[in-house]
Symmetry: C2
Subunit: 318 residues, 2 copies
């Protein structure tokens, strides 16, 4: 029986975790609430209680090499989570150390999107690639950048905040950061809702979306309307894809990846968003980059990429 | 007597070359025209004739480990120069192979800005840094990105074309690429001239620059006017710094560098451009990046960085 590792993907709402073997089989997985734990100790206690029976079933703690954590604003170098706007715990939190003390196992922490990128590189569509960018388009926009076969952490461990790059100068204000015109303000589920409200208000064009109360509008409803042939709903994805495509062109001209892997809720819209994204990416690329870079959609089950990626960090522990 | 290498920095107008020892002493250096050579064979012949006496004075070809070339659109992986808009030679050119055949020495090629970044890392203000971005602000905007202590070449060797990233959507058209709103259209000597013409036409504000015929306006004259207290000239640098600062914020949120090293003609404007650049960079950064990233100005003599960096590539030859 080979060694095992534990992968944990901590999100603002829920946390998913699983037990993984050395070849990436997810032997068990489950989830719990993040949001219900205003203090991190209670969160770690519940995680321990949930995992302990699974650990014992799998041969006990001795069989485990360690725990990999993926969390928003997670810092690989310091093992801390710093000023994460979407988590219930504020300030700078020594998460890796706390989990290590509770479980008695070595812990590695990284940002959730970095974990997902690692998962794609080891077990997903980016298998074998040495240069790619992973972008998660969910409530927010996360990213992980792989160059020369390794994750780019940067000088202080926070590289890869592509969702916060400015793409429309003096554009929409981001409610969390106060910055204007960031990618996340447009190319996320939240951004799509904002675009919907703006476009509905800007014209009298008939649309199925006008029948939905403003506070109930979301990217899923826009998708359903577009699939039913609604022109305004299609325009919303066109606009989102235009901005995303321009941003991707910029990322390509930065690190010249073999592929960009997209992941997350917005990808359910499929070609409605992918087609304009591809077109506008190509339109903004200079010649040496044109028609070279693949845009791929993750095939891993939602959240499995991050659990697998977080668990994969464990094998690197010396 | 230790081994020596040759560094060559090929620019659109001129080419500079030198002989360098293993600790980065530039033993000889000289320059020649690039532009006067419509065909590359003639260019290589002249380079050979110029270097041969220096090689013989230094102990003959046997003492040389190789030649490092820095050139616009130079590809490290293939040794080719591809579609370089500013060079007299068009298409895809096997430059490394041609120089190797002429000199009988191993040749390594990279992009000119990558060479400058290597030079800064080995001998300049980025000495000892593992994560930084080098940006040259001259006629155009070039860049080299170092992460985890190595240059980022990307999947196909063209990473680091930051001058072509879009910073003002639907902005100025770039005469060379046809793309709209790229950084190079604003934050280069050419961009400053365009901004000057735009701002002069947009108002009746008095300015020393109004006395200069339009075709004679350049960034040096704008600098002189600003130093003489001209308000419009100062506005031009403010505007340029605003756009550059926004772009730098995006680059920081991509790769989280320890520093950004600026280099090239525009840097002669000093604080006139550096102050607004710093301010607008900080303004656009999210909290985890604020007040951390140094903006440094290269201290190496103009072009020495690229010669030193190109020559440094030679020591990596196996």
């Amino acid at each position: 029986m080979g060694p095992l590792s534990i992968g944990v993907d901590i999100g603002g709402t829920g946390t998913k975790f699983g037990i993984v073997d050395t070849v990436g089989n997810l032997l068990f997985s489950s989830e719990m609430s993040t949001r219900n734990h205003p203090d991190v100790e209670g969160f770690i206690d519940e995680l321990y209680e949930r995992l302990l029976p699974l650990i014992e079933q799998s041969g006990g703690v001795g069989r485990f090499k360690g725990i990999g954590l993926g969390a928003p604003n997670g810092n690989y170098y310091t093992g801390t989570v710093e000023y994460a706007p979407n988590l219930p715990w504020k300030g700078i939190l020594p998460l890796a150390k706390l989990v290590e003390a509770k479980f008695g196992l070595p812990v590695v922490l990284t940002n959730d999107a970095n974990a997902a990128a690692l998962g794609e590189m080891m077990y997903g569509v980016a298998k074998g690639m040495k240069d790619f960018i992973m972008i998660t388009l969910g409530t927010g926009v996360g990213s992980g950048i792989v160059a020369n076969g390794t994750l780019i952490y940067g000088h202080d461990g926070f590289a890869g905040e592509l969702g916060h790059t400015i793409i429309i100068p003096d554009g929409r204000i981001h409610a969390g950061t106060g910055k204007k015109g960031s990618l996340e303000s447009y190319a996320s589920a939240t951004g799509v809702t904002l675009t919907t409200i703006e476009l509905l208000e800007a014209s009298d064009k008939p649309s199925l979306l006008r029948d939905i109360p403003k506070e109930k509008l979301d990217s899923k409803k826009v998708y359903e309307a577009a699939m039913a042939g609604d022109e305004l709903a299609k325009e919303i994805f066109e606009y989102t894809g235009k901005i995303l495509g321009m941003a991707l062109a910029n990322f390509v001209m930065f690190s010249s990846p073999e592929a960009i892997v997209l992941f997350g809720g917005l990808m359910k819209a499929g070609d409605l968003i992918l087609k304009p994204t591809r077109e506008h990416m190509e339109e903004n690329l200079i010649q040496v980059f044109q028609n070279k870079v693949k845009i791929l959609v993750s095939h891993l089950k939602e959240s499995d990429a991050a659990i697998l990626g977080a668990s994969a960090l464990v094998w690197e522990i010396k």
